[in-house]
Subunit: 505 residues, 2 copies
């Protein structure tokens, strides 16, 4: 079965946290761009922004009333009101033409600049209209103190002080704050463009009638919606048959337009698992390059710490090497496993010419910064979930099972998208919660169970959803969190404290 037959070998499971770290170590924030202020909500700020003036920019009245000298009304009371001559009235946006001297007041509106000479504002409701020698006046009926209802300049912000840090998600409150300081556009990280496709000859488009043995590709639409939810722009590329040539062609096209690729299906150990086959081949190439390197330098120490497929840099002389430099060692992996001949890398109906063409395309796809990040994860569901770099861009090969696909996206794609958007802490934070019902099923690996996150009577509760079957689609929409069941022969009992990763809703 050629290239495909290699897919079930040599997969070593890494822990979820290790897999996440490998992803994040391989990804940089994208370029930045400008977004109109009101359209920047939910995006991530690309620069630190500072106050462009003091705030408030002038002594500001906190309410509608009269600006006075506080000392003038220090003794005022309903029984002994103080009457002050009204020398001016400030409409909003105007500044007073008159100063406030002893015994005088200026009518003022909320937010207006307190006139020179005044140091307090008395509330309109605590005054009454009056006359003094035939001139307009105001009767102040409550004692005033200097400073009351006046926000001095710079009370909230000093010019130059930080308003928001790079990487912050822009909330409506940021928009109000930044707008006040004249930021009509905000520097933000670009939205990651994410190519999405599903592999599987059994897949029909969503709008097709069912056929015997076939199902509709619903994962592509779900993944696209999750990309949108986490700030990316999906490029939906449809479904592909389980053929290496078709997938290689699609990957090449995807790399030309996208910052990231997410595929579903084809990662398991089946004979037709084409993503697994491509991963396996990329891993061979990584080994071969290392082996070539070791053969030449006789240095075991160049094996990177991350283990197979996890190298992040290669010596300069190998980095630029053409694939055919590796031909001499291509038939053996570094652990001695016999690898398929290049000519065995055929699609089921391939011929010699197309084989060579597939080889050429694979080599071209695997240029530059291409390597396997992980091809098995110690978790349920979705242990065959894999990730690689292709030309420096991350590819996530998620399970074709909708539940496992969902979990794989939350655990690996979501942090990757966050990192690309400049998130300084892209791993979702877990919270502690009390389990509402026992999970009796043990698992040799960490199990990620979709759950509801409830807040009741001040407590955080985790209610597991359909944990029996990873294919239970009905529980995916209800999920508000992933509940982490530690590895072990027994499950977790109701009332025990569990770790819960909230999901964006």
């Amino acid at each position: 079965m050629g290239l495909q037959g290699t897919s079930r070998f040599n997969r070593r499971a890494v822990k979820v946290s290790e897999a996440q770290q490998r992803v994040l170590a391989a990804i940089q924030p994208l370029h930045t761009e400008k977004a109109a202020l009101w359209q920047s909500g939910g995006r991530r700020l690309a620069e630190k922004l500072v106050a462009t003036s003091d705030w408030p920019p002038f002594a500001r009245s906190g309410l509608d009333g009269f600006a006075i000298r506080g000392a003038d009304a220090a003794q005022a009371s309903p029984e002994h009101p103080v009457t002050l001559r009204v020398v001016d009235a400030i409409a909003a946006g105007q500044v007073a033409r008159e100063r406030v001297g002893p015994g005088t007041a200026v009518r003022i509106m909320t937010g207006a600049a307190v006139p020179d000479g005044a140091d307090a504002v008395v509330m309109l409701e605590q005054t009454a209209d009056a006359e003094l020698d035939g001139q307009p006046a105001v009767r102040v009926k409550h004692a005033a103190v200097p400073g009351q209802n006046v926000a001095p300049p710079g009370e909230e912000f000093r010019r130059g002080s930080a308003l928001a840090e790079p990487g912050a998600v822009i909330r409506p409150g940021h928009i109000a704050m930044l707008g006040s300081f004249g930021y009509a556009e905000l520097p933000v990280y670009a939205r990651p463009r994410v190519a999405v496709f599903a592999t599987g000859t059994e897949l029909l488009p969503v709008d097709a009638p069912l056929e015997p043995g076939k199902i509709r590709d619903s994962n592509s639409a779900m993944v696209a919606a999750m990309v949108v939810q986490y700030g990316g722009e999906p490029v939906v590329m449809g479904t592909l048959p389980d053929r290496v040539d078709a997938v290689v062609e699609a990957l090449t096209a995807a790399l030309a337009v996208a910052d990231c690729i997410v595929t579903t299906g084809g990662v398991s150990v089946g004979d037709y698992d084409v993503m697994a086959a491509i991963l396996s081949r990329l891993k061979q190439q990584g080994r071969n390059s290392r082996q070539a390197c070791q053969n030449r330098e006789g240095a075991e120490g160049t094996m990177p710490v991350g283990g197979e497929g996890a190298e992040s840099t290669m010596p300069a002389d190998v980095e630029g090497a053409k694939p055919h430099d590796c031909d001499a060692v291509e038939r053996f992996s570094c652990d001695g496993t016999l690898l398929p001949e290049p000519e065995s890398a055929v699609s089921p109906d391939g011929e010699d010419d197309s084989n060579r063409s597939i080889e050429a395309e694979l080599h071209s796809l695997f240029q530059d910064d291409s390597r396997v990040l992980f091809d098995k994860v110690a978790m349920r569901p979705g242990s065959p979930t894999s990730a690689m770099l292709l030309g420096g861009k991350p590819l996530f090969a998620l399970s074709g099972n909708p539940g496992a696909c969902f979990v794989g996206f939350e655990l690996f794609v979501r942090p990757a998208l966050s990192r690309m958007q400049g998130d300084p802490e892209p791993l979702p934070l877990a919270v502690e919660a009390e389990l509402t019902e026992s999970i009796i099923k043990g698992s040799p690996h960490e199990r990620y169970v979709r759950a509801k996150l409830l807040m009741r009577e001040g407590r955080v509760l985790a209610e597991p959803l359909g944990f029996g079957k990873s294919s239970m689609m009905a529980s995916i929409p209800e999920a508000e969190a992933l509940l982490v069941v530690p590895p072990g022969s027994k499950g977790v009992s109701s009332g025990e404290r569990v770790k819960l990763i909230p999901i964006q809703r």
Copy 2:
């Protein structure tokens, strides 16, 4: 000061819950439309959708392996494996050409249709390749039971069973589920178009340099971003001076394009609070219409239960009445307060001609289903927050103070937008949380304090943010919830249980 001078009178505070109920009672869901499946995330479903087939549609293999008759391998073990002849191999999307009879097996992939005759699937990893009489065979090394790793047709869904109810927010999990049943487009409620503007002669556009006594209009952008966050489409109309004619013109334009209007500023008791003036005038008209009605029918009973400005229907003969029918009673409100002459409804620089034109525009604005819903709320901040219906469309007049504007949006506009999008339960649910620090400031009315919602060690905690000053802009972006401080002379102590309304982030 004419029309504006009336704004400080006759405002009676209603409770937040009552104000919310008045809003919801006045609003219907918008029309529905179709959205492409993957673009429907976050929108609300307009119809109940059902399973269009059983799911799975056929007996489905849960993993890669061999379809067998379970009875054939009931006794299999590593020491005593059972060898079965492999009669066929099913690629994904294919159906078996051969039936599985006693002593035979068919190679099968995850998700493929289990062939006739087989009732169990054994995992590839629990088998080994073999030969039997020179024919391909498989050695089964573990005991099998009928039904294992086979999902029978309809196990998850029966044809016709409900998948999602009207009003449900469409999550990525719905998209996977609905895609599986062939829903390539989903019926959703339209996004509310929300006209947004700010009133205040003191306001500058965000990109303008500061001027003495003026500030930038940052509320419009914040409100627009909140509209986006809660599923609407903002129509940003900029800032308006404190002039009735300008605002009436803008409201007329807004009603022509939007389903809802949100204004900020101009709702307080100041001389230039133009939204308050318009509300006051609408209230007069409501009273006058009722009074005219009572005069004619001599029936007190036509006064609606909701009290002033809260009537929801009017008798048919008054409903269609032209505004001039009310002239005879126009100078007195139903509680006897002297109302301004029509000709006093001037903008500060208005003339007689423009007065008449404003009157005409106001009358035209107030046609059909126009009424005040509330013009004062028993809460802090933002007690002058108001709402009216204009031609059947809701208008929310929020405070110009950014903090109060934010709270007013969360409490009143958010539920309105949810209802327009078909939410059957549009009021945000509150949770209980433990206060992390004391709030010493009492308030005669409920106080809504922006807060962080923390989950620590299984407990829900509320950390108040900048509760001292409602104008503290810096705390708005950090808010994850509104903490409800009950009315009373004292505040709430650290450790006490409080009500917390989570905010969408």
